[in-house]
């Protein structure tokens, strides 16, 4: 067990240092963290156009501040990117550095190694999440002081990240076989952003798209966190309760599938000698 923890710790530190070495280009990292804020500004501009020229005021269920609604959604951009991409990126970068084969020859626990990489990537995304929420609070009327149910918001975010990690495991495994999962991720993260109700209620989408959106833990996680932050709701809110149970069930189903696929693809790559090739 302690060996697994050591593997996790070493990989986590390595991946974090690897990101931090770009601090020589520190302001670029700053812009990266601020990335979701530009999406938020886009939402604000779009809302202003509709409000000013069409004279429409937005209201959806208990929510009446559109930009605050979108802020909570966009705050999740960083975590989704990291959760869906970090595993595949971890494998891909080792492939490109020519070190993947060496790592996988060692008797270290590969899952612990992968989780270490994924957790390091989440550090920056959590900073991005906090920065986006604070920006929303300063400029767009998101009230972070009076109503927020902090434990519920943290639980919602954590469940989302854990749920989305199953995709990361599967994509990491797929990287052994098809190599260029960065292209696949280019498709996956905007698809999730489009489907999971980050900037508009899922009900706006066509019915087919709504059904697909319920498959993603992100839809339920955003729902939980949004209600916890904007309405101060907790587990006794029926919508949050249903979303929490749904996401827990999804975690129980998706994580083993993700781990299974990772191991399966890893074994296929070993058998076909494709572990090292890129």
């Amino acid at each position: 067990m302690s060996y697994i923890v050591k593997t996790f710790g070493a990989t986590f530190k390595y991946a974090l240092k690897n990101s931090l070495r770009y601090l020589s280009a520190g302001w670029f990292i700053g812009i990266n963290i601020l990335g979701p804020i530009f999406f938020l500004l886009t939402s604000w501009n779009i809302y202003e156009i509709v409000r000013r020229y069409a004279g429409l005021e937005w209201k959806y269920a208990e929510f009446s501040n559109y930009v605050a609604f979108a802020t909570v959604g966009f705050a999740f951009l960083g975590p989704i990117l990291s959760a869906s991409w970090s595993g595949a990126e971890g494998i891909r970068s080792e492939q490109q550095d020519g070190t993947l084969e060496l790592i996988f020859i060692t008797p270290s626990n590969k899952i612990a190694w992968l989780i270490g990489k994924m957790m390091a990537a989440q550090i920056f995304s959590l900073i991005s999440l906090a920065t986006t929420l604070i920006t929303g609070s300063i400029f767009f009327g998101l009230d972070l002081l009076s109503k927020v149910n902090v434990p519920m918001a943290i639980l919602g975010t954590t469940l989302t990240i854990v749920g989305m990690s199953s995709f990361s495991f599967a994509l990491a495994g797929l990287t052994f076989i098809i190599k260029r999962t960065d292209d696949l991720n280019q498709f996956l993260w905007p698809t999730m952003t489009f489907l999971c109700g980050l900037t508009y209620p899922v009900e706006v989408l066509p019915l087919g798209a709504q059904v697909i959106s319920w498959v993603f833990p992100l839809t339920h996680g955003v729902n939980i966190t949004r209600r916890a932050i904007l309405l101060g709701s907790g587990l006794f809110d029926p919508i949050i309760a249903v979303a929490t149970v749904t996401i827990l069930v999804q975690i129980l189903i998706f994580i083993p599938i993700g781990l299974f696929l990772f191991t399966k693809f890893y074994n296929v790559a070993r058998k076909t000698g494709a572990l090292f090739t890129y």
Binding site: P36, F38, S43, Y47, V50, D183, T193, T199, Y200
Partner: protein, 277 residues
């Protein structure tokens, strides 16, 4: 400078890049698929706020644009082209570094500008595949009412935008020689440029104090010109302002890129940091 020799370099680079592009079969398919959800996201951001007929009326009345989805699609396509050309031209030196070929490449007497232009042109060839693919797919999915009055105006606008964006890639290439974080730089610039260039809304709707940022970006003029050509029935005469600025950008950026590339390359050689990553 012998033109035939430069053409050989450009041809070799194009041939290599096209082979690399087609060697990853999934990339070929995904490149035309992944912009679709981004387009859908922006279109549904509007549809989440009001009925489509009313919004179409607003855009027709306020901006002379015949299609809301068309506005988002044209903006996104030019933005994607910018991205492709920045990666394909500017950040290409970082790829050479990863592949361990940058010092070998820079030891050859090949003109650096020809190398970069070869990379830019191959990106355009790749780009033309997915520009057509994305346009047809998005047309089928979202429907675009076009108002093209002059086909030459459309073609010339597209070519002028591409030239300005290749020049931007060449300009950035020199910085990518010095930094080891070319990927970080390119990714970091995506979101701000997407916002300031008015990809999802007319750039005139940016707050006044941000206009100066929007108007120092060549991509802004490319988007404005193409929207006018495709969605507002503009002729070449109507587009003279935007097209002149695009050529001005192309000239200035190529000129600066050429000299900066030499300065940065010499600096990296003196520091011995060309190969390091």
């Amino acid at each position: 400078m012998k033109l035939s020799k430069e053409w050989q370099i450009i041809k070799a680079i194009i041939s290599r890049n096209i082979k690399m592009f087609f060697s990853y079969k999934i990339s070929v398919l995904v490149t035309i698929l992944w912009p679709i959800p981004i387009l859908a996201l922006n279109i549904y951001q509007y549809l989440g706020l009001g009925p489509s007929d009313m919004l179409a009326g607003v855009f027709g009345k306020e901006y002379g644009i015949v299609s809301l989805s068309g506005m988002v699609i044209v903006g996104t396509m030019i933005y994607l082209l910018y991205n492709r050309l920045l990666w394909g031209t500017g950040a290409t030196l970082q790829s050479e570094r990863w592949m361990g070929t940058i010092d070998v490449l820079f030891l050859t007497p090949a003109s650096r500008m020809s190398i970069l232009l070869g990379n830019g042109i191959s990106s355009l060839i790749e780009g033309s595949w997915w520009i057509c693919g994305v346009f047809i797919l998005s047309w089928m999915l979202f429907g675009i009412n076009v108002a093209i009055v002059s086909l030459p105006a459309l073609v010339i606008t597209l070519i002028s935008t591409m030239m300005a964006l290749i020049s931007l890639g060449v300009f950035f290439a020199s910085f990518f020689i010095l930094t080891r974080a070319a990927e970080q730089v390119a990714i970091s610039l995506q979101a701000p440029i997407r916002y300031f260039a008015g990809v999802a809304f007319p750039v005139s709707e940016l707050p006044q104090f941000l206009h100066f940022i929007a108007y120092i970006l060549p991509i802004t003029y490319g988007i404005e010109a193409l929207r006018k050509a495709v969605l507002a029935g503009a002729t070449l005469l109507n587009l003279l302002g935007e097209l002149s600025l695009l050529y001005l950008f192309a000239g200035v950026l190529l000129f600066l890129g050429y000299y900066l590339l030499r300065i940065m390359e010499n600096k990296a050689k003196k520091d011995g940091s060309l190969y390091q990553y």
